[in-house]
């Protein structure tokens, strides 16, 4: 199979303990990959290592078949879009101005901005300052920043944080259609099982920094069990950070 993203024994220490240990991600092309785990399991740490925001202590990462090194990192990341932790942005600038900054850095045509803002339904709000945005609007803008320029690989860290039910559904629908419509691959991290269940083709389950399962969602759910039951039995329930 063709993997768009692979990691090889990825590990990150904090002090003497491993925050993330021996992670081997295999993300196939043109799918939605759900990255699951309880709070504090190491999801964000892993995603940050993939994007080169923090340095791994061990292991290798390859994206689009190329091994990521500091020399080619940005070149490779040009083909990605990401939203990690909270959406960033400058409070004193409007939504549109924030988008323009991202547009110039990504080097994509200006016309894309309007289209992307419409995709996340922020176009009408584009002239409001970011500090006057609601939490949900900030989150949408974060998604828009990631989507801008039609990246081949989209990495979204808990993208439905702060969205209302309608917003959650909307983002879910958007994510589900992206592989087919724009031939993107999306990695979505979440601890909301029902959400992942409804949109992911593949899942990886991480707990205490280690990978418990990786593969097709459908083969995990054999035997009539739903994702929640499988997840809780794997992670031991109740025990999260």
């Amino acid at each position: 199979m063709n993997y768009i993203l692979e990691t090889n024994h990825l590990a990150k220490k904090q002090g003497n303990t491993y925050r993330v240990n021996d992670i081997n991600l295999h993300v196939p092309e043109n799918c939605v990959y759900g990255f699951l785990g309880p709070n504090g399991a190491g999801k964000t740490t892993t995603l940050k290592m993939i994007l080169g925001l923090i340095r791994p202590d061990h292991g290798k990462i390859s994206i689009f078949g190329q091994q990521v090194a500091s020399a080619n990192r940005l070149q490779i990341l040009k083909g990605t879009g990401s939203l990690i932790e909270n959406p960033g942005g400058y409070g004193h600038l409007t939504g549109l101005e924030n988008m323009q900054i991202v547009q110039k850095l990504k080097g994509v045509p200006e016309e894309k901005i309007a289209h992307t803002l419409k995709t996340v339904r922020l176009y009408e709000q584009k002239d409001k300052k970011l500090k006057h945005y609601s939490l949900g609007m900030r989150q949408r803008l974060g998604i828009a920043m990631a989507l801008l320029g039609d990246p081949k690989l989209l990495i979204l860290d808990e993208p439905t944080n702060g969205l209302d039910p309608a917003g959650i559904q909307e983002v879910r629908e958007l994510i589900r259609t992206l592989p087919e419509k724009r031939s993107m691959t999306i990695i979505v991290s979440s601890h909301l099982l029902s959400e992942v269940e409804q949109m992911a083709d593949y899942v990886g389950i991480i707990h205490h920094g280690e990978m418990l399962y990786q593969g097709k969602l459908s083969s995990l759910e054999t035997g009539g069990k739903n994702l929640e039951e499988v997840f809780l039995s794997m992670t031991g329930g109740g025990d999260s950070l």
Binding site: L51, L53, I84, G91, H92, L93, E97, V102, K104, L105
Partner: protein
Amino acid sequence: MIASSFQSTLLEFKKSKRKSTLLLILVVILINLCYLFIGTKKSDIAGIPQPWEAILFYIPLINSLFLSVLMAVLASRSMDLEHKGGTWNLLQTMQSKSSIFLGKILYGLFWLIAFGVLEMAATIVLAKCMGFPELPPIRGVMLTISSEIIGGMVIYQLQLILSLCFSGQFAALSINLCGTLAGFFLMYVDDRILTPWSLMGALRVLNMDYQQGDAYSTYTWNTVPFFYWLIAVLYLVGTLFIGLWLYSRIDEGSLSVFSQRSRQTASVHFGLPVELIKLKRSPVWIAFIIMPVISALIGVFNFSINQGVLKFSWAELWTQQSLFLGIFFLSPLIAIFCSLLWRMEHNGTNWNVILTMESPAKIVRDKLLTASGISALCILWIGLLYLASGKIIGLGSALPKEFYESMLCGILACIAIAAVQIYLSLIIRSFAIPVGIALGGGLAGIMFLTQGWGFFLPYAMLQMGLRSTNLTNDINIPAFIAVSCVYVLIFFVLSVYHIKHKDSKTQE
């Protein structure tokens, strides 16, 4: 590399939109012009033997204070944007860390050049309007501007590094302000001293010979030795490369060396009041301890080497140690502290939290007590250093009794200033503007004092209370106490009123 740095420079301009940088620069230029020209009458100009020389002599001097502060503020603000917006995760996936740094450098350089040129142009225009003869020598003008650019850039790069190391801008800014103070002081001790903060002075093209008895000083042109330029360039290149190196090591928006220092908490009990818990791990004490120490050391040094001119007395030592603190540094320090106190609440959704738990009066009271407490301690520290250094250099036991009054009045004035700054930082959400007001207030204080309006401005009261110019000046102590109380009361009520009647604002 060059193209991407250029692009990130352009983006820096976009990021600083609505931050009115130009206005800030114009204000600093205006302050400088006031300093240069106030008190000069049109009719006197013809009688001044070297008017242009005098102007070109004083510009680098005043700029090593104001331009340094301006550049530090610009750098700190530009970094604060990224810390506050949480944009590191995003930016680093799109541009290299070094081009973020170079972008900020070029942005600073642009404003620095703009400042240098605008200031010089404004000075020349104003001087011609006042009837200065001819034009200033081109070479002198060019050299003055270039020394400003080199000196300013060193400070700017230094501040970018500091602001990266400490994401809290209080610590980052105050280290540079302490440096500025030290550099400024040291220039009075040795006018060619080569600290990063006194380059503008060291590279200046004129010398002044001051003879008592003459109405005017004489200025002589001076060729700055090659060695001085070399050191200046070394500072410039050194800070650039250290910065580049550090910026390439950013991990999650900060340097891991500084971020992984969290200590284990021994127990859940922490006996200090809330406001002090909030200040934990925020190194506020640095500036309040170091600034008086710098001031005392340089004061003693200056006092010792100038024994030919100064009298060997407690009063003269007091002047040497406290003059600049009272005029330039103490009020902005209190202002920074008050800004810091409110900033914790302005950030994020903290207003929602504290307003549901405490009454507005109690919130303001706690802030005021904290700010007053720390500035009172600072005054006592200044006094202690004064007594200790006086004993060490062997001054006799006849300490003027007015000293104790000065301590009292100094503390009272600090509390009044704290009340004003608490109000300003509450209504103005920006960190730097209230600090700028305090700095301007200190300068205005000099004028208010000479006009005899000391009680009308708390910043003037501080200078009056400390009696830096003459320890034996008379102060009306009861009036001083009463006026201080009035200031505290007015601004306390205003602050409480503001909280009660304005909707709470969250985010950013």
